[in-house]
């Protein structure tokens, strides 16, 4: 028989995590669908359920100088309303799911779900988000790119909880952002391709560029070694652009699935890259 536990703080949660076979659940908007069996039938969870919504430390939403801490229970709707939510992340949140799901689903859940099409992931990768993990043995922090290892796969240990997400908080006049989600319809759609871009320009010079592309591979594609090719430049020459696109061309390896084809995804991703490198940061 599956047990359920409703800890009110991390210490209680950790005591529960010491048992094996734990499934943390916050809003449940992904987990309940994945474990759905039929009308009136108990969902197919086989692990002991750890309901996280009452864990005080995971309900924190805080700005500390130049850093944001987003507790793991923070819903997508709360983040849309929060005054400090970075613009790029808010752009993605506004196009994600529909109001009833956003009222319940969490940012942390979208990360742990680790879908290559996860809507918040490209902005989080572009902003170098860090995930904060807690296990009975101690805590650790990891860049999001090291946390997600494949579709539905993360390095989260069996007894570990994602307790929050750290994001840099920078108020910059010269920050350029771009987000595009390509999907069948505006609401409640899963991305065919998505792209998030964040760049800083100072005195006409490109200081930094971060481009993250979703749903074109097993994990979000971001190429820091290519991004730095644009750094320090005032304008990007045709030759440099050609080099940049050829690197992305090699790295982007989409698949055919129910939502789209590899060829379509590749073409749209390359078009979006051209748009950000030649228009957004021009």
């Amino acid at each position: 028989m599956v047990k359920s536990f409703f800890p009110v703080n991390l210490a209680e949660a950790m005591a529960f995590c010491k048992q094996k076979n734990i499934c943390p659940i916050a809003g449940g908007t992904d987990l309940m669908v994945r474990n759905h069996r039929g009308t009136g039938i108990l969902p197919a969870f086989s692990a002991n359920m750890l309901f996280t919504k009452n864990i005080a430390e995971m309900n924190v939403l805080r700005r500390e100088d130049t850093q944001l801490f987003i507790g793991a229970n923070t819903t997508l709707a709360q983040l849309i309303k929060w005054q400090y939510t970075p613009r790029l992340l808010r752009m993605a949140l506004l196009e994600m799911a529909a109001p009833a799901v956003r009222n319940v689903g969490t940012l942390a859940g979208n990360i742990c779900n680790a879908s290559p099409a996860g809507d918040t992931l490209p902005p989080l990768y572009a902003m170098d988000a860090v995930v904060c993990l807690q296990a009975p043995a101690g805590k650790r922090e990891l860049p999001i790119k090291d946390f997600i290892t494949g579709p539905g796969k993360t390095v989260l240990h069996e007894d570990e909880l994602l307790v929050g997400v750290k994001l840099p908080f920078l108020v910059l006049d010269n920050e350029l952002v771009f987000y595009k989600k390509v999907a069948m319809r505006k609401a409640a759609a899963i991305s065919k391709v998505s792209l998030a871009m964040r760049a800083i320009k100072k005195n006409g010079y490109i200081e930094s560029v971060a481009v993250a592309i979703g749903a074109v591979g097993p994990v979000i594609v971001r190429l820091p070694a290519v991004e730095v090719l644009a750094a320090g430049k005032k304008a990007l020459t045709q030759e440099l652009l050609k080099n940049i696109y050829s690197e992305y061309d090699k790295a982007i390896r989409p698949i055919d699935d129910v939502r789209s084809t590899a060829a379509y995804r590749k073409r749209v991703a390359m078009n979006l890259l051209q748009h950000v490198y030649e228009h957004c940061i021009k």
Partner: protein, 157 residues
């Protein structure tokens, strides 16, 4: 099984249910409230919409454990309020109800919107019902009904 206590349509309830049971099944099967419908069963159609702490949620993907200590309103509770009477009136006059399957969810989505934004523009209305599918009306009559309720509902929201 766990004891789960919450407020349902203004009354305290205490139930013995497995906390991972879908709120929709608890409402329909344990409590006999058939206003929330099962459409898609995966949080995409909004037929199962209810309000939890006055926020619109899909009861088909909400584990019952997550409403413990919270307030749930279904169409059966909302229909005693004057806000409901206004929405029911404008939905009828605008022709916003055909088969009726989406209507409890649509009315609660409208309530969730008007509760926060008493005078929404058309885009806000369309966004607010973007997770509620209707296969009969083509939406325009529903949008019109919500707009009429906002205009005529002086002081209700």
């Amino acid at each position: 099984m766990s004891k789960i206590k919450f407020i349902l349509n203004g009354n305290a309830v205490e139930l013995d249910v497995v906390p991972t049971m879908r709120l929709l099944d608890v409402l329909r099967n344990n409590l006999g409230l058939t206003g929330p419908k099962e459409g898609c069963g995966e949080g995409e159609c909004g037929a199962c919409s209810v309000l939890v702490d006055h926020q619109l949620v899909n009861s088909c993907i909400m584990p019952a454990g997550n409403v413990a200590g919270h307030e749930v309103i279904t169409i059966e509770g909302f229909n005693k309020q004057s806000r409901y009477k206004k929405l029911a009136d404008t939905f009828a006059r605008a022709g916003a109800v055909q088969c009726g399957f989406c209507t409890p969810g649509m009315i609660l989505a409208a309530e969730a919107l008007l509760n926060e934004v008493p005078h929404p523009d058309e885009q806000q209305i369309r966004q607010a019902i973007s997770g509620n599918l209707c296969r009969c009306t083509g939406y325009s009559m529903i949008v019109k009904a919500i707009k009429m309720a906002a205009e005529e509902g002086g002081g209700l929201w």
